[in-house]
């Protein structure tokens, strides 16, 4: 779980510098600064509408597709600003994968779902695709359950399986970072537990940023936590410390349930 590490020993994967975000004239994020460490799980918590999902989507530039969205500031991944002019957004999204709140499997076969990403990035050889698909499904902990059902429609499997399928789909393009927007909020407790176990394993190889409204989940699963409130980042630090001895009063109020 969470180990007590000296922050200075940690390598930073994602640096956020003075990030402001606007939807047309409405400002949604105010001056966010954060260093997200590599191969750890960082959780974003906060009440509804505080901007945590918006912030998550700035990391893989998914907000670009929204009309009227505007950004100021920098986000550096391995030192390079992803909002600079020459950035290849397609390549960025290959490095930074995303799993959505409501699982969204494509109305294709299970195989085609997972193979979608690699296909887009140029892999056409069927054997290679099968290898990647199997590897990703194993990684997502879904392989054993559906290895004989690969040609079936992805819409025919259970909700928990669909979400793991979406995780496998994201893993298939071999990302370095995984963004997860409330990945278990639509699932039953058993499936939720499986997803949380999965995150625990995945942390060994991927930098994970997860948005969650469930504080217990954040406490169980993450190494670092950031508390967002009304578009501001209130506090950031090791999960264990933030949950037991928060620096800010607002953080304490949120964690003890006084609001949100």
């Amino acid at each position: 779980m969470v180990t007590s590490e000296n922050m200075a020993d940690l390598q930073t994967k994602i640096q956020v510098r003075n990030l402001h975000f606007y939807y047309n004239d409405v400002q949604a994020l105010f001056g966010i600064n954060m260093d997200i460490p590599v191969r750890k799980v960082t959780a974003l918590i906060g009440p509804s509408g505080c901007g945590k999902s918006t912030f998550l989507r700035t990391i893989n530039r998914m907000n670009d597709i929204i009309d009227g969205s505007r950004i100021e500031g920098e986000i550096l991944i391995d030192g390079a600003d992803i909002y600079s002019n020459g950035t290849d957004v397609v390549a960025l999204r290959k490095r930074v994968g995303m799993v959505f709140q409501k699982s969204n499997p494509f109305p294709k076969s299970i195989f085609e779902n997972v193979a979608y990403g690699p296909r887009i990035h140029g892999i056409k050889n069927r054997l290679k695709l099968e290898e990647i698909v199997e590897r990703s499904l194993v990684r997502a902990g879904l392989w054993d359950e559906i290895k004989n059902r690969m040609e079936e429609s992805a819409l025919d499997i259970s909700g928990g399986q669909q979400q793991r399928l979406c995780i496998a789909r994201a893993l298939a393009v071999d990302p370095e970072i995984l963004l997860m927007d409330e990945p278990a909020s639509a699932l039953d407790p058993r499936s939720t537990a499986r997803i949380e176990d999965l995150i625990d394993e995945l942390r060994r190889d991927y930098t994970i940023v997860i948005v969650t409204h469930n504080m217990q989940q954040a406490a169980r699963v993450s190494d670092y936590t950031s508390f967002f409130f009304e578009g501001y980042q209130v506090e950031f630090g090791p999960t264990k410390r933030l949950f037991t001895k928060p620096n800010e009063k607002r953080t304490e109020d949120y964690i003890t349930g006084r609001f949100g």
């Binding site: 893989n60 998914m62 597709i65 009309d67 397609v90 390549a91 960025l92 999204r93 290959k94 994968g97 995303m98 959505f100 409501k102 969204n104 494509f106 109305p107 979608y116 990403g117 887009i120 990035h121 819409l155 979406c166 789909r169 994201a170 393009v173």
Partner: protein, 286 residues
């Protein structure tokens, strides 16, 4: 006491409404039935494959069938890709700005223009100004202009029916916008686009006014060689048979036969579209 009386009055009014509504149904059914009943005896292989004789008062309607077929085909070739492309722009690319509103205004305006005005437009622009002359090309361009709004509107509807989550999932995996549309939106919307378009095309097949001035002829000795030729067409043929020929009693069966063929063609297309629509609705559930 009044409660009971009110209920009786209510029921009577409901029956009145029911009667009126089914009266409409009855009239529609009667028209179809009348054409069927009087047209069926006129249908024979000779009628369908033969050429008209004696200024159309005898013989068959083969060239009119062929002409309608050519017109519909060229119209589809022009209008379908154009309409679908326009719909893709409106649904997937367009921002909510003034130019987009202008496009939508144009589409609504077009859908309200009377068919004879399209005929004048076709005459002025395609036949005369562009020197295509009275031809399949001019006629099809005119018909295509007329059904363009229908195709755009129904295609856009089909595109919007695809959930946004599919697009987002694809983009998040690193696909470009066009890749996303091509692989994850179009495959699921093409059936709907085609269905809506078939209805528009059916309308094009049955319209007389736009082709009156731009392509139709009544008595052509041979079939067209190219798209610059004039053709005979079923709607126009029916019109002339019904209004310009003197020997009314003799021509009556041919009139009905022509009407029946045209009706079957157009209704057949509508029916196909409706059947397709329910089939695909069941196939793609999200």
């Amino acid at each position: 006491m009044t409660g009971l009386k009110n209920r009786k009055v209510e029921t009577a009014i409901y029956w009145l409404m029911r009667g009126v509504t089914y009266f409409i149904v009855l009239v529609i059914a009667y028209i179809v039935f009348d054409i069927l009943k009087n047209g069926l005896p006129a249908i024979s292989w000779k009628f369908l494959s033969g050429y008209p004789r004696r200024s159309g008062s005898e013989g068959g309607i083969f060239p009119a069938i062929v002409g309608t077929f050519y017109l519909v085909t060229v119209t589809i070739i022009i209008a379908l890709p154009l309409g679908m492309a326009a719909a893709i722009y409106l649904s997937e690319y367009a921002k909510q700005d003034r130019y987009t509103r202008l496009i939508r205004l144009a589409i609504i305006t077009l859908s309200g223009v009377p068919s004879i005005v399209f005929g004048l437009f076709g005459l002025g622009v395609f036949v005369l100004f562009l020197h295509f002359g009275a031809s399949i090309l001019a006629g099809s361009l005119t018909l295509a202009s007329m059904i363009l709004p229908t195709i755009i509107v129904s295609s856009e509807e089909a595109l919007r029916a695809v959930p946004q989550s599919l697009r987002e999932g694809s983009i998040a995996l690193g696909a470009t916008k066009w890749e996303t549309i091509y692989k994850n939106v179009l495959p699921y919307s093409i059936p709907g686009m085609l269905t809506g378009s078939i209805l528009g095309i059916g309308r094009a097949a049955g319209e007389t006014a736009p082709i009156l001035l731009t392509v139709a002829a009544f008595y052509l000795p041979r079939l067209p060689h190219s798209i610059f030729d004039q053709v005979m067409a079923l709607p126009y043929h029916l019109y002339v048979l019904a209004t310009q020929l003197p020997d009314v009693e003799k021509v009556r069966p041919l009139q009905y036969g022509t009407a029946l063929v045209l009706l079957c063609l157009v209704l057949g297309m509508s029916l196909t579209a409706i059947v397709m629509r329910s089939y695909f609705r069941k196939k793609y559930r999200w």
